[in-house]
Amino acid sequence: MSKQATPGNVATAALKDQSQERQKAMIAEHFRKLAEAPERGEKCVYTFVPGNLTELIDSFGLLPVLPEINALQSGMRGKSRDYIGLAEKLGHSEDVCTYVKCDIGMLKSGNVGPTGERLPNPDLLLLSYTGCFTFLKWFELLGQEYNAPVAMLHVPYQGDGVVTDSMRTYVVDQLKKKVIPALERISGRAYDEEALKERLARSAKAEEDLVWVLESAKRRPSPIDAYFGGVYYIGPIFTAFRGTQDAVLYYRELRAEIEGRIALGKGPVTPDGEIENERYRLVVEGPPNWTSFRKFWQMFAEEGAVVVASTYTKVGGVYDNGFRHDPNRPLETLADYCMGCYTNLNLPTRVQMLERYVREYSADGFLINSVKSCNSFSAGQLMILREVERRTGRPGGFIESDLVDPRYFSASNIKNRLESYFQMIEQKRAGGA
């Protein structure tokens, strides 16, 4: 047996990259703009991460607000327990998505966003109904609360694993006949296709660098963690910044940093320092838990477990299959983008993707974090587990938690399963050697 079997060493110095500072500043600036919007007469559009039309919204000079991001931020800031409790007191079922309840609770508690500033009310609820049934109900609920108009964009599901012309036409028709007119109405501006094209071209540039960063994890050791670290990397492109120059710069800078890490042969940075000894390479399916995000990450980092690929970092767009926003067919490309988001893919496609990740990223195994809130992800994961295990011959692991409900994060239970899982990989290696 090799001497590899010592625990992954986690250095103690807290590190913050330049790119991370830039992202922080971008987010702060965005929330400042949102807080000032009512005063300055700027209009806001609430919308969802999967299938977001950020370039289009921005081309009308409108500001996007993403309730999912606010909910996950509430989770990370320890506010979600009270928000969820409040929503349940108001009659929301304990069985349903905690993002929704967290958002409703936040709204009922004064709608103060992650930076401590008040969020503006929506002028439009852009219901990009992509890959998640709950979105539909979420904005019906918000529609009642705010008495705001809703623009529905029904994005058909890739039930047969393909995007057909008919599906594309349907989305483009809705963009033309429903979404754009709604944006025109609230912004008072006409649709400007050139403005949209410019933004789409910038999106493609940033996407190119993002994919490079994510694929850098194919190296050994991986310079990044593509799940816990990955959620930071996808931040700008999944939210308010896709199509902006800021995003282009962010990804250029991020790429340069990763190139630097590779040159030095360094592993990923975690909040507790660098992982110096990569012991396990994992592919992870499912969203992370946000209420104990750092503790959750530590459970991996302490064991030298590095996530080399994840599906969660594809919910706001799958780019590592070659898709890029294409300024030459602006509405069609938006339609393709929406339909291609991870939770809009059928289960056989998701299995194929995981199988590909396990092979291409030379993973020791793959792990599913099954979250109670999200049936779009979770329903069928046990079958995915068996299927990927069968196809790759690598061991699968299964843990359960929730997005932002701290009542569903049992640290001891998860740690127990993770340890057993890591030891199983280790033992298999030793047995196979």
Partner: protein, 438 residues
């Protein structure tokens, strides 16, 4: 003379188990104790018990070597063990007495309390000989249970006579028993108890064997810990293994043909697949709710006013299994009462409950990859005949014929696996010397 051993300790939610292996990887002894707030002591006591057990088997071997026949050996050993346990009990009772008085004094409870305590303890001391008479039955092997139940009975009697209020006496006991069981001294040493016991047993062949075994030094090479409480085990991190791995390896050691292991314990259920070497290839555990675990049966037993061990036999009388759809521990009582009010028979309901538990286990097994031949069933629920019956039936219906292994020592499966890991680590170190944590 000296014998090298390795130990595996499984710190469970209700009991802590230890298995001691000799250099040939043969089981030398097993020990069990109730888990308690001080994990360190729980481990030490379990190990102590395993070493006592090991010495008993060495004594047996010695007598055999000396030509004592089997029947005589069994008789002598029984006598010796009872005498030994009596000494152990006395030692713990003495520690309990000291602790009780200290607490009474600290709380300034006065002379009446001291008198009451003395009445109780005096009676218990007097009864000790009878408790460990050959052929006497004891409710438990754990001091806490044994002493606790008698103490409470006696305190009740005193309260009835108007001698002393009941609650303060029980309050004192609760404090004192914690102290007693969390102290490693209270239980005394093997040597002192054994010397007294061998005199008590009064047989020259036994005395020779005991004296010989007392001269043997048992030397621990390494210990590996596992179990639900393993994060808090007094072992260096490198010497802690997940209970899943230990169960897999332990089951493999007991039944080398094992490919699938089902463990239903008090708090969780595990379905494990192992390869030909006992290496875990996949596993599943129940989710955060304890539905369908051993604890569920505990609730049912409480609800029906039965002992846990009585459930299986009663269910065995059923001719018509009632369909129970919920294994939710919270609803178990309500469902039970509703069924009873509908006129269903107790045994039929119980048969249904057992089947429901096994159905939950079946789904975990299916999640983990099904049931391969051979199939080993471990954990507390494996001792329940009705659960085993339901399991056999469902396995046959869904997977066809499978050889089902159940060991009477299945409670030690995890500890056995851990002890094998310990030897494995020793061999590894011998082959490739590296720095070992103390």
């Amino acid at each position: 003379m000296k014998i090298d051993y390795c130990v595996g300790i499984d710190l469970g939610s209700t009991t802590t188990k230890a298995v001691v292996l000799d250099g040939e990887r043969r089981i030398l002894g097993r020990g069990i104790t109730n888990s308690r707030s001080n994990y360190d002591v729980a481990c030490k006591v379990a190990l102590g018990e395993a070493l006592i057990n090991a010495r008993f088997s060495l004594i047996d071997g010695r007598m055999e070597h000396d030509g004592v026949d089997a029947e005589r050996r069994r008789e002598l050993l029984t006598r010796f063990e009872l005498a030994f346990r009596e000494q152990q009990y006395r030692s713990q009772l003495a520690a309990l007495r000291t602790s009780l008085h200290q607490h009474a004094e600290r709380l300034a409870m006065g002379a009446a309390t001291n008198a009451a305590l003395e009445r109780i303890l005096g009676t218990m001391e007097q009864e000790t000989g009878e408790l460990y008479r050959v052929g006497a039955s004891r409710k438990s092997d754990f001091f806490r249970d044994l002493a606790g139940s008698r103490y409470v009975e006696l305190a009740e009697a005193i309260a009835r006579d108007g001698g002393h209020a009941f609650d303060p006496l029980v309050g004192l006991f609760d404090k004192a028993i914690l102290e007693t069981e969390n102290s490693t001294e209270a239980v005394g040493t093997f040597e002192s108890h054994a010397r007294k016991a061998m005199v008590q047993a009064g047989d020259p062949a036994l005395q020779r064997a005991v004296t010989k075994v007392l001269s043997i030094e048992l030397v621990q090479r390494l210990g590996v810990g596992t179990g639900y409480g393993r994060q808090r085990l007094p072992f260096p991190e490198k010497l802690i293994r997940s209970e899943i791995l230990c169960h897999g390896l332990g089951a493999h050691a007991m039944f080398p043909g094992t490919r699938t292991v089902l463990d239903i314990g008090g708090q969780d259920t595990k379905a494990i697949q192992v390869d030909a070497n006992g290496i875990v290839t996949s596993f599943q555990m129940n989710d955060r709710c304890a539905a369908g675990c051993g604890r569920y049966l505990g609730y049912i037993a409480d609800e029906m006013n039965l002992g846990l061990h009585e459930l299986g036999p009663m269910a065995g009388k059923s001719c018509r299994t009632v369909r129970i759809n919920s294994t939710c521990t919270v609803f178990a009582g309500a469902e039970l009462r509703e069924r009873l009010s509908l006129g269903e028979k107790r045994e039929d309901i119980l048969a249904g409950l057992h089947r429901a538990i096994i159905l939950r286990a079946m789904s975990l097994l299916a999640r983990s990859g099904g049931i391969e031949d051979e199939f080993t069933f471990t954990g507390g629920v494996a001792r329940n005949t009705e659960a085993v019956k339901a399991l056999r039936l469902l396995v046959k219906e869904n997977y066809g014929e499978r050889k089902l292994n159940i060991s009477p020592d299945s409670i030690y499966t995890g500890a056995l696996g851990a002890s094998l890991f310990a030897w494995r680590e020793v061999s590894r170190q011998e082959a490739e010397p590296v720095e070992v944590p103390a």
